[in-house]
């Protein structure tokens, strides 16, 4: 069912409760053959260069469409597991405004172990494949980096070229790379703890952060054109082309297929 993804700032208490309860339920309940931890496995597996010689999820052209498909898959799973077709992934605009780190939402502890309250073990949130030996979700807000400023967002949104050779973390004139490094990476580091790790989806704010990244890409598309993914079809070695299936998603989940969010049953408010 089509949903409207709202800002954290615009969510009602009921919407917040429904979202976090669906996440908790998905931790221990399997739907469509997977539970929440499968998303942590997928993030770890597809962050690295896979056997096909392609970096699907990060440090490559398909960073934005891969995460768009990843979020859409989770949103559908949360709707299914909760039996609530109105569940949506909210976005966190980290340039200012409402924080998701509150006692009634993602938990208010942001300086170490989330040892009580929402997303603590006693609330029902276990940690999976952690590179930090702990059973508690870790956050260290602001210790390692500051959040991107609105001016940085404006600069990045102003880059007109989607991406170009060599399609990696070195490209300067690339919207994808500038978004990935200056906005995406920086917020992972700003939240810190598990958000700074390979297994970052242990922190539910992962989805709110990526929802905002996806929203910014959609805004960029509104200005630059919806059908602007690069590289176009042509089987560029080591890179996902516009009409090449992104692993591990179902066949025909290509950058082209996810370019228009109105075909993916969600919109942004």
């Amino acid at each position: 069912m089509a949903v409207v993804r709202k800002s954290v700032a615009a969510m009602t208490t009921a919407e917040k409760t429904a979202f976090i309860n669906a996440l908790r339920q998905f931790k221990t309940t399997s739907v469509s053959g997977r539970s929440y931890n499968a998303y942590i496995d997928l993030h770890i597996t597809f962050f690295a260069r896979t056997s096909d010689g392609i970096s699907h999820a990060h440090q490559s052209a398909s960073f934005l469409p891969w995460h768009r498909a990843f979020l859409t898959m989770l949103e559908l799973d949360l709707q299914t597991v909760s039996g609530n077709p109105d569940i949506f992934i909210p976005y966190w605009d980290w340039t200012g405004g409402a924080s998701p780190f509150t006692a009634d939402f993602l938990g208010s502890i942001t300086n170490g172990s989330v040892s009580s309250g929402n997303f603590s073990p006693s609330w029902g949130w276990s940690i999976y494949r952690s590179s930090i030996a702990t059973s508690f979700l870790q956050r260290r807000l602001g210790m390692n980096a500051s959040s991107p400023s609105a001016a940085t967002v404006t600069t990045v949104q102003g880059v007109t070229v989607y991406d170009q050779s060599p399609w990696d973390p070195t490209v300067f004139n690339s919207y994808r790379n500038r978004n990935e490094i200056e906005l995406h990476n920086r917020v992972h580091n700003y939240v810190g703890g598990h958000m700074g790790t390979r297994e970052a989806p242990n922190d539910p704010v992962f989805w709110l952060h990526h929802c905002n990244i996806d929203r910014l890409w959609w805004q960029w598309q509104a200005t630059r054109g919806i059908d602007t993914y690069q590289p176009r079809t042509g089987f560029t070695s080591g890179v996902i082309d516009n009409t090449e299936t992104m692993r591990p998603f179902s066949t025909a989940t290509t950058p082209s297929a996810v370019r228009d969010i109105s075909n993916l049953d969600y919109s942004y408010a």
């Binding site: 790379n177 995406h184 580091n189 700074g196 390979r198």
Partner: protein, 147 residues
């Protein structure tokens, strides 16, 4: 195409750093092999360290080809090097360099070289200790991966 030219210059200069680093290690290897102290040559990098930071033991070893090793309280942290843009927080110009990431600092590459960032591996070790707080690295942190 000013931006493209600049990017290319940045990329080539980054490649230059790698080449220089590799060459320096090579020279060092030859010198050691010719001397009587050959058996200890493998541990000869002056940037190596084995010390305590915030009550944790940090041990770093610099190897040829940039395959550096890091241990925190005797637990291994697998490192992966990537060539990437850096946007320094001090406002200096963006540049391309070789950065090291791991499972723990996965979005925060730390530059390591033999010149301006010769203390990079120790800087990375201290960053990881700060992130760990009272915790230790788990076995997941030791698993190698490719980028």
């Amino acid at each position: 195409m000013a931006i493209t030219s600049r990017r290319d210059v940045l990329r080539y200069s980054a490649a230059g750093v790698v080449t220089a680093a590799t060459a320096a290690v090579g020279v060092q290897g030859v010198t050691s092999a010719d001397s009587a102290a050959a058996p200890q040559s493998a541990a000869a990098d002056p940037r190596d360290f084995d010390e305590t930071y915030k009550r944790k033991k940090i041990k770093g070893k610099h190897n040829a080809g940039g395959k550096h090793e890091l241990q925190i309280n005797n637990r291994k942290l697998a490192l992966t090097s990537i060539s990437t843009l850096f946007f320094p927080e001090d406002g200096s110009a963006p540049h391309v360099g070789v950065g090291y990431i791991s499972a723990v600092n996965h979005y925060d590459p730390v530059e390591i070289d033999e010149t301006a960032n010769r203390d990079g591996l120790k800087k990375l070790a201290k960053k990881i200790v700060d992130i760990l707080g009272d915790a230790e690295l788990s076995d997941e942190a030791a698993q190698e991966h490719r980028h």
